[in-house]
């Protein structure tokens, strides 16, 4: 456990005086270069009411042009200062604006201590509770509530007590045992670094004392855990580089590598460009195993006696970070340390009203919302509950097309379902069924706009296959929507689920040895990519039926374009919703040529 570096987060509403507080703390502990302080004495932003010669503390922290123009903090700034006992304090100055809540979560994810500011003239506000909620979810150990601007209420003990009592009445919803209340005036400097003489009724610590007195909990004897970052190869040397994120390790220790379940002994530890005997929690080292084991980036190294069973189903808190809302059933990439794996959010259990703590039913999460979700991973992962380990319990979700970080997750627990299901190997398998039918099973995935000719091509293709004595089946989008997918509409979420179900049914049919043809608009690249990932390489053939939209509109076989243009169908591809053309399909068909030619084109590819 790192004890020499503490991380602190400041939060509170806009104009509660955060920047002033941090500025005051930095200046009074002489942690800011004197030329910077000098500039803050004479530079003034537009509309500033700070007297000439006084320090505009906010100029010390708000570093972006837009921040100075608007007088608000947009993004997290990091400042370092030394505590009197020599420890390092890294301060994250997080924005107060509601629309930047995600940036506040960024700062909270690593913080040990949070300062929550309350303006004494305004009392507890929703943003106060929202920030406490995020600190709670993000696992901040200690909270210091700074009741600020007491100078504006005549240093009234009653005002301080009333606000404190008000906040305490909300505290039952949070699991924040270590909490301090300090009356303060950042502007005047009361109780920030030095004790104030203006509040004789307060005998507690100043802010700086309260920060300094905090010590992280000594971690009890815990078993070792580390994740492989990369393999290090040099002459006569093969080791794995890793950071010991939990526990300690010594030469001679037996460890187990997951998920391969191999046992090995630690033969050598390399650190500081030499061999060492042991490494502590937090150390970045290179380990050599005896015997040499097959190991790869993302693998888990753990003490041999620790029982670890990975799971592929988890319940998690999720903070949504992206402007585009969460789409369950869509495939995202989960990253946790060096581990990367495709996942889908199978269920949104509820979202949490950050103002009241109430659980609300939800179909999606929008930006800055927090919810509880269930996720399914492509392969078992050995993640720990976040409460037990921030390092092994965190993950981010990444959009597979844009590569943006869209969600931040904290594992609540693994779901039993994952463990209780084991794959049943059939004795008659796909290749046996293929030989009986004398054919190679395939899935031919037709995608294109409504009216592009997918169903027509699917029918013609199946007729040809049938004539050749081959066994096939067509999964047509409309037909599926009459049964299996009767509950789905046309929103992006429902389309993702539609594609998921169709690909799973297609997979079963493929396993049965059939040639499967699907005719589905499937407008989103990411959904089609996920469908492809369900199948073995070479089995999935994406066919893009490329027909110009005006041709589709003129055909309009089901009269849908007409209805859509009249506004009767929302989310209709080509009208209210975009169609993302396949970037790399196996076959592209010109939708304006004769169906027979297209059919032969596909047939030639698969036979």
């Amino acid at each position: 456990m790192q004890t020499s570096v503490l991380r602190l987060l400041t939060c509170g509403s806009v104009d509660d005086g955060k920047s002033t507080l941090i500025g005051r703390l930095l200046v009074e502990t002489d942690s800011v270069p004197h030329d910077t302080v000098g500039a803050a004495r004479h530079v003034r932003r537009a509309g500033s009411t700070i007297a000439a010669g006084d320090i505009d503390f906010s100029l010390l922290t708000d570093g972006l042009e837009a921040e100075r123009e608007q007088g608000i903090t947009i993004d997290v700034a990091y400042r370092s200062m030394s505590l009197l006992d020599g420890r390092r304090l890294i301060i994250s100055d997080a924005p107060g604006h509601e629309q930047y809540t995600r940036n506040m979560a960024v700062a909270a994810s690593r913080a040990d201590i949070a300062i929550v500011l309350i303006d004494a003239t305004k009392g507890v506000r929703t943003q106060t509770l929202r920030h406490l909620m995020i600190c709670n979810v993000m696992g901040v150990s200690r909270v210091i509530v700074a009741i600020n601007k007491l100078d504006a209420v005549n240093y009234s003990h009653e005002v301080f007590s009333a606000i404190k009592d008000d906040l305490l009445s909300h505290m039952s919803r949070f699991d924040l045992p270590d909490i301090d209340f300090i009356p303060m005036s950042a502007l005047v400097g009361d109780n920030v670094v030095a004790h104030s003489t203006n509040m004789p009724w307060y005998a507690g610590s100043s802010l700086l004392e309260s920060i300094q007195s905090w010590q992280p909990k000594k971690s009890e004897e815990v078993t070792m855990r580390a994740r492989v970052q990369s393999i290090v190869r040099a002459e006569d040397f093969r080791g794995v580089s890793t950071t010991i994120h939990r526990g300690k390790v010594s030469v001679g220790d037996q460890v187990r590598i997951h998920p391969s379940n191999q046992v090995a002994t630690i033969a050598t530890i390399v650190a500081d460009m030499k061999k060492v005997e042991k490494a502590d929690e937090g150390d970045a080292v290179t380990l050599v195993f005896q015997p040499e084991v097959d190991i790869t980036r993302g693998d888990l190294i753990a003490s041999v006696n620790e029982e670890i069973s990975g799971s592929d189903r988890f319940s998690a808190h999720l903070v949504w970070l992206n402007e585009e809302a969460l789409i369950h059933s869509r495939s995202y990439l989960l990253i946790s340390g060096p581990t990367q794996i495709p996942v889908i959010v199978t269920k949104i259990r509820h979202s949490i009203d950050v103002n009241t703590g109430e659980e609300k039913p939800a179909n999606t999460l929008v930006m800055n919302e927090i919810g509880v979700v269930e996720i399914a991973t492509n392969a078992p992962l050995a993640l720990l509950p976040y409460k037990e380990s921030r390092e092994f319990g965190n993950f981010i979700l990444v959009d597979r097309v844009t590569s943006e970080s869209v969600g931040a997750g904290m594992i609540r627990h693994a779901l039993r379902r994952g463990e209780n299901i084991t794959y049943q190997a059939y004795e008659v398998d796909k290749s046996a069924r293929e030989s009986a039918k004398n054919q190679r099973a395939k899935i031919i995935w037709l995608t294109g706009l409504s009216g592009s000719g997918k169903s027509t091509i699917a029918n013609a293709l199946e007729k040809r296959l049938h004539a050749l004595g081959m066994h096939s089946y067509v999964l047509d989008g409309d037909n599926l929507r009459m049964g299996l997918n009767v509950d789905l509409g046309f929103t992006a979420e429902d389309r993702a689920e539609n594609v998921r179900r169709t690909s799973e049914v297609g997979k079963l049919m493929l396993d049965a040895g059939l040639i499967v043809i699907t005719a589905l608009v499937s407008p989103f690249e990411v959904d089609r990519q996920r469908a492809r990932s369900v199948f073995n390489e070479g089995d999935f053939i994406e066919v893009f039926v490329d027909t110009p939209v005006d041709v589709c509109i003129s055909r309009d076989p089901k009269g849908l374009y007409k209805k859509a243009s009249e506004g009767k169908i929302p989310n209709f591809t080509g009208v209210g919703q975009d169609y993302e053309k396949p970037t790399n399909p196996e076959i592209t068909i010109n939708g304006e040529v004769d169906t027979q030619i297209s059919t032969e084109q596909i047939l030639k590819f698969i036979l």
Partner: protein
């Protein structure tokens, strides 16, 4: 001193983890080597991170042709001693068209000889990640940087579109056209850098140590006259003063400070005592309140 050692250990561990993450995640990363103290620390950390294997990155140096002579000598020595592979890029069109730090204007000079030269080098070598020694304590807009900092097409930094960076789980994936800047020593301070150099006995450029050097006084800055390209006023003669440098860059734009610090230990003492920011000696930074942010949004490091 126990706490200092522990802090340096914690900072070092985290920097090594970031360097390893970069090596494992990108197709072609480079280490930006600007010959200064931060670069020297980065290089040392990279040796540690991959030992006993060699450093898996090439080094990249953007040479404006106006660096101190001692910097280039030092650079070539470090590269040879450590058996490294170095890419040097100079914006040749800039040189040919006569761009220089005296008559071009400092901002435009920096844009052409540093920003454009950097973009050229990154594009020419198809570099998808550039590792740099910037620290959050250097400058206000740097205090806002992520460790893995995304650049859009044209290497632009968009401060409103930074990826949320949580825990130590880094999103290193790139969409087409994007590239990454990586800052492994973000959380270090100037004093940490010097203490680490002292602790690890890292070799740094002799310009960091006090010595009698020929300087002229311009405004309140002391400029070293490193070669005869420096335009002296009528009757002006450089005087020999005992000076050293806190940061190294182009010699006409990087001011010296008067100092008697001749050893690493004396430099550590001096940095500990001095209360002026490091970049106070950089002529370009004083230009505008937001000059660093502006430069970065154009692709500056």
């Amino acid at each position: 001193m126990r706490v200092n050692t522990e802090i340096l250990k914690a900072l070092e561990n985290e920097s090594i983890e970031i360097l390893r993450e970069t090596a494992a995640s990108f197709r072609k990363p480079v280490l930006m080597y600007s010959i200064g103290k931060d670069s020297s620390v980065l290089l040392h950390l990279a040796k540690k991170a991959f030992y006993p294997a060699p450093i898996p990155f090439q080094l990249l140096h953007i040479d404006t042709t106006w660096k101190f002579k001692e910097m280039i000598t030092f650079r070539d020595k470090v590269v040879a001693d450590n058996n490294l592979s170095l890419i040097v890029n100079t914006n040749k069109e800039g040189v040919d068209s006569g761009v220089n730090p005296f008559t071009t204007g400092i901002s435009e000079y920096t844009r052409i000889m540093k920003t454009v030269a950097l973009r050229q080098a990154l594009d020419d070598h198809q570099i998808d990640a550039a590792i740099g020694g910037s620290r959050r304590d250097e400058e206000k807009s740097r205090a806002k940087e992520r460790v893995f900092s995304l650049r859009d097409e044209g290497h632009r930094w968009n401060p409103r579109n930074q990826r949320p960076e949580m825990w130590r789980t880094y999103n290193t994936r790139l969409a087409p056209g994007q590239s990454m800047r990586v800052f492994p020593i973000s959380d270090w301070t100037e004093l940490d850098v010097w203490r680490y150099i002292a602790q690890e006995k890292i070799e740094v450029n002799p310009l960091y140590f006090a010595k009698e050097r020929p300087v002229v006084t311009r405004g309140d800055q002391l400029i070293m006259v490193d070669d005869d390209r420096y335009p002296l006023g009528v009757g002006e003669k450089p005087e020999m003063l005992e000076v050293r440098f806190r940061t190294l860059g182009c010699y006409p734009l990087t001011a010296a400070v008067q100092s008697k610090a001749k050893t690493i230990e004396e430099v550590v003492e001096e940095v500990f005592a001095v209360k002026l920011s490091e970049r106070a000696t950089r002529l370009i930074d004083g230009a505008h309140e937001d000059s660093m942010e502006k430069k970065k949004s154009e692709g500056y490091f």
